[in-house]
């Protein structure tokens, strides 16, 4: 009898603790008064809050309708979505690249994610949505840029132009049939791209007897403004830690940030995209002709995907290449498609957001709709 009562009590407490409530009036959308975007409407959809012990889990399903009140075409938007900024899981961003929003036009942004917030924090809206940046067609930028969204959105827009140029050239040379063939090749590449289950953690103090310093091999591009000189990471089994890469500025312009893309090779010689190692901020000062170090206090662990057994993947080698360079004037360099193809990277790298968008459009609406879309630009 006593045990039944205890079970009922526990079940009741659990039900009360895990109670879901709607997220009405708890999401604050903040757009500055001089913002080029204005909020037309917000729809909280199925957003809800769940209490879990000492934390509150916020499931966001928010659709914003924004209005382009600027005279320029909008190419990308990044919103900072925060429930709290102290512990992991409280902050996220939602970016919408590859846009083409004309002045006075409305467009939707869907926020679909989950955030954590300590239950003790009282008062105020549970979620704050702030504009971090807007990128326009002429690469001008508006916003506080707290998340370095100027660089990332500029790089995405440059990648978008690169992919559209490539597929448009195929359309021009080989017609819709050629475009269809190129799309099928891209879809195959995306499906067959080797993928791993990747774990990232910051500032971990892991030591192991089997740990050793491994040297990066570098891929070079003919027109790269920054060259990787040498680099190392600490390797222990399936974990790579603390990458540090020396880079030299080959250009005559000051460089504000560099992003090195990181590929790992397993014992069978198969290559996987591991992640990117960015370096920016005031401490990273790369004047013309100077050398600086890209480093991150981080650990990456690799395992096969769960449907492939989930076994750890031992790292046998590492390759790096310069994926992005941002100059002091805000201009960005990315490798061109020919260089990526020559280095046989297209089958390893993640598809750019624009290539992902175009192949999705082809799959859903066919080659004619894709050709029409390409011809809009």
């Amino acid at each position: 009898m006593t045990s039944k009562l205890a079970i009922l009590l526990v079940a009741g407490v659990t039900a009360v603790c895990a109670q879901e409530t709607a997220l009405d009036h708890s999401v604050n959308i903040n757009l500055p008064p001089d913002s080029p975007l204005t909020l037309i409407s917000e729809n909280l959809g199925e957003s809800h809050v769940t209490q879990r012990g000492s934390a509150v889990v916020l499931d966001l399903d928010v659709t914003l309708t924004l209005h382009n009140s600027s005279p320029n075409r909008v190419r990308g938007v990044t919103l900072l979505v925060a429930a709290q900024e102290v512990t992991p899981g409280g902050k996220a961003s939602v970016s919408v690249p590859s846009l083409d929003v004309a002045p006075s036009q409305n467009f939707p942004v869907h926020i679909d994610l989950r955030l954590l917030r300590p239950a003790q924090i009282a008062g105020g809206p549970l979620v704050q949505v702030n504009l971090d940046g807007v990128l326009f067609q002429d690469y001008s930028f508006y916003g506080p840029n707290r998340l370095d969204s100027r660089r990332t959105m500029t790089a995405w827009e440059m990648q978008a132009q690169r992919e559209r140029k490539y597929f448009k050239s195929i359309l021009a040379m080989h017609g819709v049939a050629g475009l269809k063939q190129a799309m099928l090749e891209s879809l195959n590449r995306q499906a067959e791209r080797p993928r791993l289950d990747v774990q990232v953690s910051r500032g971990r103090a892991v030591t192991s007897a089997a740990e050793h310093n491994a040297r990066f091999a570098f891929l070079r591009f003919p027109d790269e403004p920054v060259e990787p000189v040498e680099g190392w990471a600490e390797i222990a089994g399936n974990e790579a830690r603390n990458p540090r890469i020396d880079v030299r500025n080959l250009s005559s312009r000051q460089v504000r940030s560099v992003e090195i893309d990181w590929i790992v090779t397993d014992r069978q010689g198969k290559q996987y995209m591991a992640g990117s190692v960015p370096a920016s901020g005031p401490e990273f000062n790369l004047r013309a002709g100077s050398t600086s170090r890209v480093l991150q206090d981080t650990a990456l662990r690799f395992a096969r995907l769960a449907n492939d057994g989930g076994a750890p993947v031992s790292i046998a080698g590492m390759t790096g290449f310069v994926g992005q360079v941002e100059f002091a004037d805000g201009k960005v360099w990315i490798p061109n498609r020919e260089a990526l193809a020559n280095a046989q990277l297209l089958g390893i790298l993640e598809p750019s957001p624009e290539e992902q968008r175009l192949t999705d459009l082809y799959r859903k609406k066919g080659p004619k709709a894709l050709a029409d879309e390409l011809n809009k630009f």
Binding site: K91, P108, Q356
Partner: protein, 192 residues
Amino acid sequence: MTHPNQSTLALYAGQDLGWFTRRRTERHLTRCGDCRSEVQAFASARDNLIALDELPAISWNRLSGEMKANIRLGLAAGECVRGERTTGRVASFGFLSGARTLTACASAMALVAAGLLLQRPNPAPQPAATGDSAVWRATANGIELNQGGRTLSLLHAPSGDVTYSAGAQGSMRASYVDSDTGNMTINNLYDQ
């Protein structure tokens, strides 16, 4: 037949008897099986004690020197205090001086020595492989956050293709075409 007492047999087993008593005990043992068994039992117990007494490498000479030095220091300090106290009002605490102070210091040293003797070597603790640091994980089902042994999915894989990428600065990114808006959408989750 008169048997040697147990103390004699124990001392014989430990080879600690004098020459004359040892000879006499040996003669007895050649005739008495019961006493031989007792001697063997004492010898066996002694071997076991020796095995149990394997201690970590301790510099006994150094320890002995330190103990002696501490005792001398205590005695010297006691002398100083006694010299002052005999001239003052607190001289009535004279019971702390002399042999008693020596006994107190020796007892303290004996306690320290016992602590050292009782301390058995323990394997050095391995550095923690995982702390409370947050671990982001990109799986086929979405992005998970693991902290303090608890895992929470922060981003479910939407229908359709999702591309995940890790940022060494402590972020995890998911790129997909949003089924509601048709827009390419990139969600980024940050360490802090």
